[in-house]
């Protein structure tokens, strides 16, 4: 087959290796910054069955880095849009799109259909769920995470190797580690890191080279440094996950990102008199918002600074994308501080509105 000629003429791959690729089944969770390059290279390489799971839709701010999508995909589900693009790239492979959210209930049955799991998600609840389900179903997990200009890559659960929980036993506190929608990300960074993930998947299927199993790689795009650190398996952490198997499907999904809180639009908010405007973005994030009576408490320090909140006034909380502001409102609600609203829009829209 001419399509895979450049693979087949490599002595390390050959027709035998190419057949292994076409028999492989890989599930990619999250078709975003990481998922797009992973899917693109795995489809091009002829991985026989690709699963794509994403419940989100393509928005304009995704196009800066999520290379499978174009303006024609705006508003479409990412799993479907990615499948459409990849079928054009390679119509000889099987592509399954899953438009639902990954949950404790559906994870195990889905993972069992595939040989390798790839984590391209953007939140810790999903990352721990994927890790635990990979341990229980005994599937190798090709993991990556990114932050602004940096990325980390590893292969977990491969031949009695360590898992994500052996690196970070439990998720960080809510709002402590920001994601791309809060702080931004260099567009090419997930391209580099996602391509490293695709490379690990291909080596895993082909049985060539050395995998990043028992190792975690940190890459910094600003100084091109990469650091590989060794990681040991924690029997205690893995045992704890395996012991949860009988109740795994009934475990509650961490829905803290989706709490329903009172929301308000910019226009409504600025029509109100005597409000306290609260910026919960981390410090040194652009754009700087200068409004009279506005205060700045990063979400990571929100709980410690509740005394700065004016209980008498109506409070309007904003952040970069309207996600952390919701978390702040739910923190206030937990402390019986009412009359607070999460602003629908983010800081950029506020700036635009104020300049009008």
């Amino acid at each position: 087959m001419n399509r895979y000629n450049r693979h087949i003429i490599l002595s390390e791959i050959g027709q035998k290796g190419q057949d292994m690729l076409s028999e492989a089944k890989v599930l990619v969770i999250g078709a975003g910054g990481l998922g797009c390059p992973v899917l693109q290279y795995l489809a091009a390489a002829g991985v026989g069955t690709l699963g794509i799971m994403d419940f989100d839709v393509v928005s304009e701010s995704n196009l800066q880095r999520q290379i499978l999508f174009g303006t024609s995909s705006l508003g479409f589900n990412k799993a479907i849009a990615a499948k459409d693009r990849l079928e054009d790239l390679n119509n000889t492979i099987q592509i399954n799109a899953y438009t639902k959210k990954l949950t404790h209930k559906n994870a195990l049955a889905l993972f069992n259909i595939y040989d390798i799991i790839v984590d391209g998600t953007d939140n810790f609840a999903s990352r721990y769920l994927i890790n635990d389900a990979s341990i229980i179903t005994k599937k190798p997990l090709v993991y990556a995470g990114i932050y602004k200009f940096e990325g980390q890559v590893s292969v977990f659960n491969y031949q009695e190797g360590p898992s994500y929980r052996c690196l970070f036993p439990s998720p960080p506190k809510e709002g402590e580690v920001p994601n791309c929608s809060d702080v931004g990300v260099l567009g090419v960074l997930p391209g580099i890191i996602g391509t490293m993930q695709a490379n690990e998947v291909l080596k895993l299927i082909l049985g060539i080279g050395d995998l990043l199993s028992g190792k975690v790689l940190y890459y910094n795009a600003l100084n091109s440094n990469s650091t590989v650190l060794k990681l040991n398996r924690s029997v205690k952490e893995i045992k704890r996950v395996i012991n949860s198997e009988p109740i795994f499907e009934s475990l509650e999904d961490n829905l803290s990102c989706e709490v329903t809180v009172s929301e308000i639009s910019i226009i409504e908010a600025f029509q109100k008199q005597n409000i306290q405007l609260i910026d919960v973005r981390e410090f040194n994030v652009n754009p700087i918002i200068e409004v009279e009576n506005a205060i700045h408490i990063p979400l990571s320090e929100f709980q410690k600074n509740l005394d700065m909140i004016d209980a008498e006034k109506e409070k309007v909380i904003f952040c970069q994308a309207g996600i952390n502001s919701k978390k702040a409102v739910s923190i206030l609600r937990d402390h019986q501080i009412n009359n607070s609203f999460s602003l629908n829009e983010g800081a950029f829209e506020i700036n635009k509105y104020l300049k009008k």
Binding site: G145, L167, P178
Partner: protein, 112 residues
């Protein structure tokens, strides 16, 4: 290590078998504090707090948790942040003794 070296220095004086007089003791060089010069690497959010990717750090103490305390004193905002510590490119625990110069502080990354 420095402490041990100095101890050997005293032994070399061949006085180990007899009582040392106070006058003699005063002529011995003072014991230095047990300090180590470490190279510490920071990643992600941690590098933003410390304002550097790498630095030389004088450490007076024994294990990883003592090192963490020393770093929390230098950088108050590190306190409460989630990270793992690697020593000589291997992930270590809080009670691991610091015996290598190369340390890295590794945070988790959420984004994808």
């Amino acid at each position: 290590m420095i402490y041990l070296k100095q101890k050997n220095q005293y032994n070399n004086l061949n006085h180990s078998a007899r009582v040392i007089t106070l006058a003699e003791l005063k002529t011995f060089p003072p014991l230095k504090e047990i300090t180590m010069k470490l190279t510490i690497k920071y990643f992600g959010l941690l590098a933003e707090i410390t304002q550097c990717n790498e630095e030389q750090f004088e450490f007076f103490g024994t294990d990883v948790s003592a090192l963490k305390e020393a770093l929390y004193t230098k950088y108050i905002l590190l306190n409460g942040k989630d990270f793992q510590v690697a020593q000589g490119q291997v992930l270590v625990n809080n009670d691991t003794l610091i015996n290598e110069k190369e340390i890295a502080l590794l945070p988790p990354f959420a984004g994808g």
